[in-house]
Symmetry: C2
Subunit: 217 residues, 2 copies
DNA sequence: AATTCTTTTGACCAATTGGTCAGGTTGACG
DNA sequence: CGTCAACCTGACCAATTGGTCAAAAGAATT
């Protein structure tokens, strides 16, 4: 899903890409911290060390910039979604998916926050994605989970709620990072704490749906 | 925790309370849908059918109104927190707490969204609550969960992550209601679906931490 | 070197919006 | 009924901010 990066054809092309990436990254952070309305083009410009008028050269309107930020996040989400291997066994498929989502929460906290913000406010921009791509992905995975149930590999559970549980628990570590840091003595998680969080979430969910786990070696 | 409602002493007093309640309720909804910056006093005024200047009579600034909306939500949260009975057994205490939180997600979706928004954006207003009241409550419940572990009533799990899991899964149904409705054919959950969600979440979490459950009657 | 196209930028504008205020209205109370 | 305090409200203002534009600077091409 990730777009392969091609070589820039010229100095111009290279600079252009750098500038675009810089604006998108800065915008992601500002939008995450202040919301769509609260983020100002001036703040994004300052964060990227560019004059405001330059932003409008690359992104005609704030909405255009915001939309591209959100689309980028959605692609990252899709990338993780593919790790939910429909061929593997429950422990593998779900375990890999949960771990991948936890990694994203750690590596892309701003993107996750922008996404959360967007959905909380009624998803005015991404409504189409939810209805099409997300709905299709969800349906396909629900079918897989139902097959597992039928085969007795997991307890009978409503697959939809299982997916919601995975989404909410993993994204919580990104979206509510400030609350979590505050309850962690004011400092963000370190490597060990992230590892423990991932393990803990994975274990509880897998055990919670009665996954038949491979015997510990 | 909920403040007992006293009788109004006069017609004025009664009207005053009604107006305050109306503004707070309307503000909660507008803040939930548009965020702190995106919500305008004019929109809240229109929603409450009041002239804008009247809002400023009761709440001098938008921040004052916002702060009171957030404080009200925090009190509702505290009310649910008390249902986490430190005397009961794990199944009772956690089950009641989860169910209560699910009820709040259904009955106060706007409040939950405002709270989520606030935390996502770094909790500029409620930082004090997180550091004091929330931290104390969390510590006290962690102690209880550790006692359960010690007594062998539940598996050894990191209590902090268990709490985060309960918070995230239950609040997800309020905060991401739009996404959930979209994946539900565009309509919000009905009674039966809420009941199933509650049961499903409760079961997976309780089983996930190995709670010794009372034998089914 | 000359030309053309892309990119950069400071100055500017119009619309939005939080907040003010003076004057009017209404209820409480003696 | 008269007085006073609380309440209501239309009109207004100053600050912010998304977006524009013309002119300058820089790269590519001939």
């Amino acid at each position: 899903m990730l777009v392969p990066v091609e070589k820039p054809k010229s100095k111009r092309e290279g600079l252009r890409r750098e500038t675009l990436a810089l604006i998108l990254a800065t915008g992601e952070q500002i939008f995450a911290d202040h919301g769509l309305k609260g983020a100002t083009m001036q703040a994004i410009a300052d964060g990227a060390n560019l004059p405001k008028a330059n932003l409008h050269y690359y992104f005609p309107t704030k909405h255009d910039l915001y939309r591209q930020v959100v689309e980028r996040i959605f692609n990252i989400w899709l990338d993780a979604a593919e790790s939910f291997d429909t061929q593997a066994n429950p422990e593998q498929a779900l375990g890999t998916y949960i771990r991948k989502k936890m990694e994203i929460s750690r590596s892309h906290p701003y993107g996750s926050k922008v996404w959360a913000n967007e959905v909380i406010h009624g998803a005015p921009i991404i409504h189409d994605y939810l209805e099409t791509t997300l709905a299709e992905w969800t349906d396909s995975r629900i079918a897989v989970i139902e097959r597992w149930e039928f085969e007795g590999l997991i307890d009978p559970v409503n697959p939809r709620h299982l997916l919601y549980m995975i989404w909410s628990t993993t994204q919580h570590y990104a979206d509510f990072s400030h609350q979590i840091a505050t309850l962690n003595g004011g400092v963000p998680f370190n490597d060990a704490q992230w590892a423990q969080a991932t393990e803990c979430v994975t274990n509880i969910i897998l055990k919670g749906i009665g996954v038949k786990r491979a015997a510990p070696s």
